[in-house]
């Protein structure tokens, strides 16, 4: 974990506190990490792994397409 300083408005801080509480997170930091992870994982396009590719080829072969 890296420590960073973040400036946000008071109104947003209040909202963050509310959300943290209502969603059952212990700390604002936990909630923020969760939101960031969600947002970044949505944007990332994952390349298929070699294992995935091998499994797909095997299946297509079984079905008579390769």
């Amino acid at each position: 974990m890296v420590l960073i300083k973040l400036e946000i408005s008071e109104s947003n801080l209040l909202k963050l506190k509310d959300k943290t509480k209502s969603l059952g997170f212990d700390k604002i930091q936990d909630y923020l990490n969760y939101v960031i992870e969600q947002s970044i994982s949505e944007d990332e396009e994952q390349e298929p792994s070699e294992e995935d590719e091998e499994a797909v080829k095997r299946r297509l072969k079984e079905l008579g397409y390769l």
Partner: protein, 479 residues
């Protein structure tokens, strides 16, 4: 789920969904059709924004409706059903699924659905049409009698000889599109200036038997091969044959029936004209957002699939989508891939209602509408699970479809596999999806199957994230 309004003081527009059942985009004037089927829909398109590559992710009506109203795609499990199974619908609710009408209700909208609704479909609507069986008394014997009569009537309407079925449809059938229009007009006329409404107007003359009560012969066919002669001796399902006999005359050609389908579009389009006139008269046209679309398309004679919407070919999965309203650009065409699930987040953005993107599989189209982006998605995921069990993906230029076994790939209506177990089409060279490249273009085949698997994995993962979040939020409420 947490939804907050961004600007509560701002006047919210009314919202109208105009939905035509089984309407394929390509049979509308604004989508380039040669027959003048749709002057009023063309008006909406000319004065609004039209999406030329809009798709459903499921070609069965009530499954498409969930995607439209929930902004999510519920993955099908192992059964072949026209409706969601208990397991499937549970996966939606257990992950905090909410419908557009419920969100709008919390924003003080009155919610109307001019369609027959059952079970989960009713959730959040103040008004909807009820089946006769929903209106009966609590008396068990009376209920049994009424249900039995209703069932016999339904059987005759759908499978009886055409002459009897036409009579019963006219006299005892479900509400006509004229009645839907009359009710829509009444709701608009009675609306008060300080009240907002969300109104779903549902037309179904464009669904088989394509039997508009007027305009039946607005267009005429030119073919000479009679439909029943064409399918004679072919292994179509007996039930489907009865269904066709119930819907079409013995001597009708395929072109005659297509002309009837087009006449049904033209008639429903004239009813849309009546609704637009009422909005204009009531001075509500400027403060109403109109969304015109269909639940799925229709195969008329393509791929040997006659007058049905099974098969995940573009004729059955491509839908028209037009948005009209003050905040929507006029005479604009958007070619990016979009799907039903995108409607809810788009509407929430247009209304300034905040939401977490995790709530929806759909993506807001607001950036496309405002010219700030050229694409929201690389592909459309689609599946079907009634007459066939198939999954597939469609990019701008390619289509990949697969079933996991020959049994799943065998169509219950047509008794054949249409394109086989696995299908791959180059849509640029072969827009009619007739040349299956699955055995000849191996590189693309592998690439597309990997993309399909990744799309399914993403849908499952997103739903699991929602389920966990929903559990945490439920737990927090009880602490």
């Amino acid at each position: 789920m947490l939804f907050e309004i961004m600007t509560p003081e701002q006047t919210k527009p009314n919202i109208i969904f105009i939905v035509m059942d089984a309407l394929r985009a390509k049979n509308l004037g604004c989508y380039g059709y040669s027959r003048k089927t749709s002057p009023n829909i063309d008006f909406l398109s000319k004065n609004g924004t039209m999406f030329t590559n809009a798709f459903t992710s499921n070609n069965a009506t009530y499954k498409a409706y969930l995607s439209i109203l929930a902004g999510r795609h519920v993955l099908l499990e192992n059964s072949k059903e026209l409706f969601f199974t208990k397991q499937e619908i549970n996966s939606f609710f257990s992950s905090g699924g909410t419908f557009l009408q419920e969100i709008l209700k919390k924003q003080d909208y009155k919610t109307y659905c001019l369609k027959y609704l059952n079970g989960w479909q009713k959730q959040g609507f103040d008004f909807y049409y009820k089946e006769a069986s929903q209106k009966t008394s609590n008396n068990f014997i009376n209920k049994l009698k009424q249900n039995s009569i209703a069932r016999i009537m339904k059987l005759l309407i759908h499978l009886g000889p055409k002459s009897i079925a036409d009579y019963l449809r006219a006299r005892y059938g479900r509400n006509s599109d004229e009645k839907v229009t009359k009710d829509a007009i009444e709701i608009i006329e009675k609306s008060k200036p300080d009240e907002k409404f969300f109104l779903w107007v549902d037309f179904d003359y464009t669904h088989i038997p394509y039997n508009p009560r007027k305009f039946t012969n607005k267009f005429t066919g030119k073919g000479d091969e009679e439909f029943f002669k064409k399918i004679k001796g072919k292994p179509y399902n007996t039930l489907m044959k009865s269904f066709w006999k119930n819907a079409f005359n013995n001597n009708e050609t395929i072109e005659d029936i297509i002309a009837r389908y087009d006449s049904a579009i033209a008639f429903d389009d004239s009813l849309i004209g009546d609704i637009l006139q009422t909005l204009k008269k009531k001075k509500l046209l400027d403060n109403t957002l109109i969304f015109f679309f269909s639940d799925h398309g229709e195969s008329l004679d393509e791929h040997g699939i006659y007058f049905s919407h099974h098969g995940l070919y573009d004729v059955a999965t491509q839908v028209p989508l037009i948005m009209y309203g003050k905040s929507i650009p006029k005479d604009k065409k958007i070619t990016s891939l979009v799907q039903h699930e995108d409607l809810v987040p788009t509407i929430l953005d247009l209304l300034g209602i905040k939401y977490s993107p995790l709530e929806f599989d759909g993506k807001s189209l607001i950036q496309l509408i405002k010219n700030k982006s050229t694409s929201t998605r690389e592909l459309i995921f689609m599946e079907e699970g009634d007459y066939l069990k198939k999954q597939g993906i469609r990019t701008k230029n390619l289509k990949y479809l697969e079933s996991s076994s020959i049994k799943d790939a065998t169509c219950k209506i047509c008794n054949n596999t249409h394109g086989g177990l696995i299908e791959l089409y180059d849509l640029k060279k072969d827009p009619k999806e007739e040349q299956n490249l699955a055995k000849s273009d191996k590189q693309t085949l592998i690439k597309m199957k990997l993309k399909l698997e990744s799309a399914v994995r993403d849908l499952k993962l997103t739903n699991e994230k929602r389920r966990i979040r929903h559990l945490i939020s439920k737990k927090a409420k009880y602490l």
